[in-house]
Amino acid sequence: MDGPESKKLLLIGNPNVGKSALFTRITGVHALSSNYPGTTVGFLEGWLRRKDETWRVIDVPGAYTLMPTNEAEEVAERMVNEGADVAIIVLDATALERNLFLAFQVMERQIPAVIALNMMDEARHKGIDIDAEKLEELLHVPVVSTVAVSGEGISRLLDRLPEARPVQDTPLSKEEKWTAIGKIIEEVQKVHHRHHTFLDKLEDASVDSFWGLLIGVAVIAGSFTAIRFVGEGLIDIFLDPLFERFWRPLAMGASKLLGGGGTLHDILVGRLFDGTIDFEQSFGLLTTGLYVPVVMVMPYVLSFYAVLSFLEDFGYLPRLAVSFDALLHKMGLHGFAIVPALLGLGCNVPGILATRVLDSPRERFIAATLISVAIPCASLQAMIIGTVGALGVRWVAVVYITLFLSWVILGRLLHALMPGFSPELIVEIPPYRIPSFKAMAFKLWLRISGFILEAIPLVLGGIFLISLLDVTGLTDLLSRMLAPVFRGLLGLPTEAAAPIFLGILRKDVALGMLGTLGLSPTQLVVATVTLAMTFPCIATFIVLWKELGGKRLLASLAIMIAAALTAGMAVRLVLSHSL
């Protein structure tokens, strides 16, 4: 689609101004998500067909300034410097002054611009009147009022793209810009008094020293309840019956066709229990290999990302950062490190990639190591709930409490032992907003399709390798080598060594194997904690390597193994004394 006739259109604006909603409005559903070359900053690219023209639309990462203060802003600066046929500068009408600073920086680079004065509905609610015509007159570029979430003003905005012209002004110094902006604000903006709404009060309460923490705990507890409710519902009502009804006959047919045994049968269908397939325990490519990612894990991944996208778009995450800042500060991080940790609860890979928002290599090392040690991903959690949960909720609680304590204790240790300091939090807290369903659905689709593309091949590969190791007898050898550690330190049987070692490929699959060994509750909890905290899965391992480099990766792995064995032994001691 990217022919010589296609023109380049940049969408530029501060974070949280509704740029993404505008992007989905003008490009529709066909968008590409990619990383800017040489960075991990992601951006979206889509296409707009209008009259005879095709536009390549690029959603530039949100930036407050083109004098970069972080990596996203560096990418924004580079994208703007590369130039474009037209830039749509998206301004938040409720914070016009600060938004105009970025607009000035873009316009002085001689890019033809059109201004979308977005969130005009919210500005009206807040008692802010902006004279868009006057603003257009003063800035010498088209200014169109929009409400991206509802689509208001979008077609008028696109109609005016041909009117975009570079502004022939000489660049201003920083002080001159603020002075010029001050004059513009005086002329175009009027503010009326208005009463506080419910959302305003909620905004203040969310950062209050008492209510904020209470709301934080309630949001986390509520989120987990919702994720479990939706995930279990999808499994019990929809996916499991679907698999049983349609896939079981086909898989059984394949089993018969392969003669009910032999190497190929073991690899494709796996072991039969009482002459039939057990989707959780057979461990064949066509049985457990599809059942684990599609039925047991995907529903939780889906419901997790639905809840996370809602919290993100509603504007809660920065407030959670405020609530967690004091704790994270003592772990060498600042409050915003809670966001990568939350993402890690979905999948460690995006969680570790998101540690890029942190400023120093020290913070990124601590945050990434903590995620891969103590943050269980949705796949692993689905299997914890499925396997350990079969013993009772309190055993699941033991696993979660152990992981949380490990997160805090290890964070404090790393902060105390590594030279350096905890950076300070500086974060804008956007107003609470009712999210756009369309933008949320779009983001959810990107995340779920990413999961499906990545997880299914890895699970299949993992199960294939497990079969190979089994067939060649390597599993036995490995188990015997690792047995002293597992038996002596953790009180686990020899057979538990192989699944924990195989956790390198997929921890969810490994936990599924542990579930088939007939362990006692204490043994299962110890094995689960050890498995969760030790070596990361292969995808996480690769991302850690890319993010930290070889030397720091080795340090991180050593920390993980030490932490996993320590936590496993601690749980064994505590449980055997309290039972």
Binding site: Y64, M67, D204
Partner: protein, 97 residues
Amino acid sequence: MTPPTSGGGKKLSLRDLANGEEGQITALPSSDGCAERLEALGLRAGKIVKKVSGMPFHGPVTLLLEGRQIAIGWRLSSAILVNPMKGRLLPHGRPGE
């Protein structure tokens, strides 16, 4: 843009303000790498801010600047000096409490 000397008189840091109290910014940290970021968020000398809250255990201070909340780490908030003002109106018209 020179801050008026009337009002509270004594210069305080942002975190010394009471919740709901307003102050006019007189000085921001200059040597720190944070300075650019604070300015990009609209925090400049002469601006009037209202302290919304401070989190316990040396948690961040949340302030209101022109109708928008911004949270700032505890240590950094002590490097932002303000001139307390009582009973003044914010530029956006929200009455001071």
